[in-house]
Symmetry: C5
Subunit: 88 residues, 5 copies
């Protein structure tokens, strides 16, 4: 999993039927020093995260293993809101 | 998922049988500032997208979870047309 | 999927049993301007492609969804010969 | 698989139900010279690893093939503590 | 698949139960000119490869499709010893 910052939302009226009811969040991935990295992703919300939240992001097939994402064309999911990261 | 711009089409008369009937779009991935990034992809269209459309792209195994892609050798799918992205 | 150029072949007498009968092609991935990118791959041929052919490449789990690749340890497959790419 | 160094822990009270009971470790991936590489990951612990341990990391779908990770939204797992790497 | 050079071995007494009996090889990935690339991987051996062998590496879910890897937390497998690569 990776660390990300919820930085926005995306609106898409015209989408695959299987995506209806899914909350989509714009997430900026961060490195361990919490600096932005990567190109930015759209992820399904599984935990009620909102803008400004530090979150944990699961990508790939594993992102389908939640109640909100199972069987949908979703390759990234916000699976936790991070309270604290302790790094040596 | 990532944001992309539909920038063209691809014609391939000689292809795997399982790809017949699939609309293939050339998609340029974009970062959150909508600048081009990556090498460019070919994705299956699931939403009737056309050139110039800003779209949402699902990659990997999850791209197989649509009516148009199930059971086919397809690793990227256009699953939504993006109306608006709001970023802090 | 990505665009690639078939640029060679690979011979391997000693291989996993499940790979017998598979034609392996060396493929150089290309960006949308058809410039070489990436480190070069070996992909299973599903369409009778040969050296110099511009092809479409499927990677990951989806590469297993062809008659030639199903159930084998193959993570990339040539699934079409590209006739024409039109880009804006 | 890749080599990593366990460099911290992450606390997340608010997480997907399926993640309860999983120990999450912050892992810094290393190259073969044991220099840090990549952006840093969070991985599920399968072997009782702790801070400072050199570990082997499995990513993607394969990370789900352990007792601790099966069926969960987990895309990276610590599957071994490395005693020695011998490189030519 | 990619080309790699077997460059070492790794010892790990403390590992996930499902990894027992698997031979782990340190593999340095190579580009088509056989120059080292990437950060170095650990892969399961399926063909009796040894140090100095040029090999073919399968990554991701497909790496699970061999007798030695099925059902294990393994994301990379050595599936062939390469005899010859011919590139234009």
């Amino acid at each position: 999993m990776t660390i990300g910052l919820v930085s926005g939302t995306v609106a898409a009226a015209h989408k695959d039927e299987t995506l209806r009811g899914v909350t989509l969040l714009v997430v900026q991935e961060l490195d361990l020093l919490l600096s932005p990295t990567g190109i930015g992703l759209i992820a399904a919300d599984c935990v009620g995260a909102g803008r400004g939240d530090l979150v944990m992001l699961t990508k790939g097939t594993a992102a389908l293993h939640t109640e909100q994402t199972a069987g949908r064309p979703i390759d990234a999911a916000v699976v936790a809101i991070v309270d604290k990261i302790e790094i040596d």
